[in-house]
Amino acid sequence: MSKTTDVTVPHPEGDLEHFQDPGIPEHRHRMADTDPKADKRAERQVVVLFTISVIGTIVALWAYFAIRPDGTTAGVRTSTMVLGLAIFFALAGIGVGAIHWAKTLMSDHEVVEDRHATRSPDDVREIAVQKLADGIKDSGIGRRGVLKGVVVSALALFPLTIAVPLISSVGGDWNVGTFRTTLWKKGTRLTYDPTGRPIKASDVTIGSAVHVIPEVTDEYRQSGEWISEKAKALVLMVRLDPRDFKPFAKGKENWTYDGIIAFSKICTHVGCPVALYEQQTHHLLCPCHQSTFDVADGAKVVFGPAKRPLPQLPITVDSEGYLVAQDGFDEPIGPSYWERLR
């Protein structure tokens, strides 16, 4: 060890305050070091392990060609299991064999190597600093202030040529106003999710909960756009005994129809579908983070991380007895965001 000023060797000598380092423990011989039989045995074990690997590879190839998928879950499971186990043996044979070889047959005498301080020695540092100084002098960067400024500006600005087009394009039209709009508007029929069949008020029994989507054409329901619209328009509708309702909020007295009440199904916490309805307590539970809403009390939050009630969809029936929306939601649905109330 040389020039390692920072690496202090603690207590090189034993004294009254410090014990002396006893040095590397004595080497203990393994069986294979002294007993030729044990040595041979260990070698045989390694040979067996590598042979297992070869057999594993052969079985894996056989399994690949022999076990064909039959389209059932069970068939795929069998193929996965056989192929995977064969690969396991092919790999484990090599791995365990190599480790066993190293542990039983290769030298296990500990070797000591010196460390050097991580820092470069002083003379190296001096040369390094000198070289940098030479380079700076060559370039004359120190004297040419304007040049320096322009180079720095140019390098700092050019990434904008990539970043600005990228960032401004990935956000689409940036029309975040779409958060406020859903497919619901005056007269939109409530239909069953996912069939799209309109719902007659008389078909909804007391105590039942119905997953609802707005009525759209069948073709529209096959489009990608529908998924994004559905993610906002989902509604959960339940029918209560009208006497179970707590007094309605001002202006919402006529938003229900004969005990049928409809709320946005998108949680006001982070936007999971609030899909679990507890008939006895009239509670809606979000399975993601357990926000609990009281359907009988305007879907107010009774527990969990959500703050706001679920937005209510005002409903009524049309001339044929089908449930329709009186209007769209009167507030943005789903999780809160900065300009929600603006």
Binding site: M1, V7, T8, P10, L16, D21, P22, G23, I24, P25, G71, T72, V76, S79, T80, G84, I87, F88, A92, I94, G95, A98, W101, A102, M106, V111, V112, E113, D114, R115, A117, T118, V176, T178, P194, H211, G224, I227, S228, K230, A231, K232, L234, H269, V270, G271, C272, P273, P287, C288, G304, P305, K307, R308, G334, P335, Y337, W338, E339, R342
Partner: protein
Amino acid sequence: MTTTTTRPSATEPTTPIGRSSDYLDNRTGIGHAVKEFARKVFPDHWSFLLGEIALYSFVVLLITGTFLTMFFVPSMSLSTYHGAPKTMDGLLMSDAFASTLRMSFEVRGGLLMRQIHHWAALVFMASIVTHMMRVFFTGAFRRPREFNWLIGFTLLLTGLLAGFTGYSLPDDVLSGNGLAIANGVVKSIPVIGSYMSYFIFGGDFPGEQIIPRLFTLHILLIPAIILALVALHLMFVVVHKHTQYPGGGRKDGNVVGFPLFPVYTAKAGGFFFVVFAVLSLMGATMAINTVWNYGPYDPSPISAGAQPDWYMLFLEGSLRLMPGQAEFVSWGDFTWSLNVLVPAVLPVLLLIGFALYPFIEAKVTHDDREHHVLDRPRNRPTRTGIGMAFLAFFVILAFAGSNDLIAIHFHLSINEITWFFRVFVFVGPWFAFWITKRICLGLQRKDRELVLHGHETGRIVRFASGEYIEVHRPLDEQERWVRVNYTAHQPLELPAPNGPKGTKDKAYKSAKRWAKLSRFFYEDRIEPVTPAELAASHSHGEHDALPGGEDHALVAPDHSVDATEQSH
């Protein structure tokens, strides 16, 4: 310059291997590298394998991931699926989901590769976390390895991103709901939240762009970053040489172990195959992410008891615990969704604070020298306690992220469990700190006891006088060295203030704060036994076995076992 003029005739190669080595070295100069690295010494310990598991599972991820990209279609275009399994036949689904089904049911070995890939991701994160624990509790992050600690920490974060982006690719109901949650979290960011949501999804959630975008991140950008960081991480391991556990002959100035070639070539190379083998076994026998049971993404359905992969559970847990009252509307009708923002950001900020720990510890310890011999965790009670407190915090959050499963399995009220965790997430870490520190101090005392009095042998001897004693066998010098070779750091001395009391002195105030923090770290400490103490204890012969305080006072009047813990 031709090779014939530079090659000394003495090393003229004659064997085939010699000739090809000569050919290679003439063109690459690889001889330098072989000379430098072939017999490089690495210390041996099982806990050094944790980082290796992380490295190898990453390699497995690359191999299986390449297989998967051959069959995965990163597109959200919808079409009606025809094929296995029967339950999915005829459903409208995205190409991403359909190709996931095809690679599982039609590509032979496809499901196996998917399952190995997923298990490898879980093991990758688990081994990173346990490797970090090893590094933290043994103080391997001290100079000169602070940068490598930070690189490793960045790897943890990129690993989280890799996991999340990969998990979302199949476009199934579960991962779609995960994206919905991510969208809700992003929207809660003040001022720019809505625009961030558009930035990510290219429009309204979920849109038709998120899967291709995640795919590019998952298979190109993030693996490239991980690969670069891994290379840097390993380069520093070579530059610094590996740390070693304390023991006879192990010093900060040397490294004791076995040579890379052949021992570690066989052991570490073999271990790669073992890790790959175990992951194959898991992929073969344990079903994971059976997306055909969840179905293609549809915003409507959801199932209770759905958990994210384990490494995301802490965020899920903190989201569940935060009470909703934290959301408010400020002047100007701006909505502050602190009920989402705080639980999403706070754990990440805490993690980042944790990443800065090495610098804080160096400052309160006034320790600026190089360390290559590791600490035994018990010899740094406060550090070990802090580590356990952090761990407890995240483990409690992870359990809180499973509160619905706990409620179902143990027939408990979910509301009560949530309230319990709301309190326990603050109390638990404090308790973990306190009890860990006490255990460490206790173990140190036990070490002192062993060094001073030796092992109990169970042999009872009666003297002629009728006195009974148990014979103690002294420690051999290797056993003793492990127990006495450490430094019990003292709190920083508070410098004298510049000027009279009451004058403003920023430097002094800062020094005072650091000294206070230092006292928190080191006011409770157990000094190692010195040879003088041992000699004093031995000079009293067999009396050490006798109970009673007066004997202790006789054994070591200045440093009795009970008095060495110096408290303020």
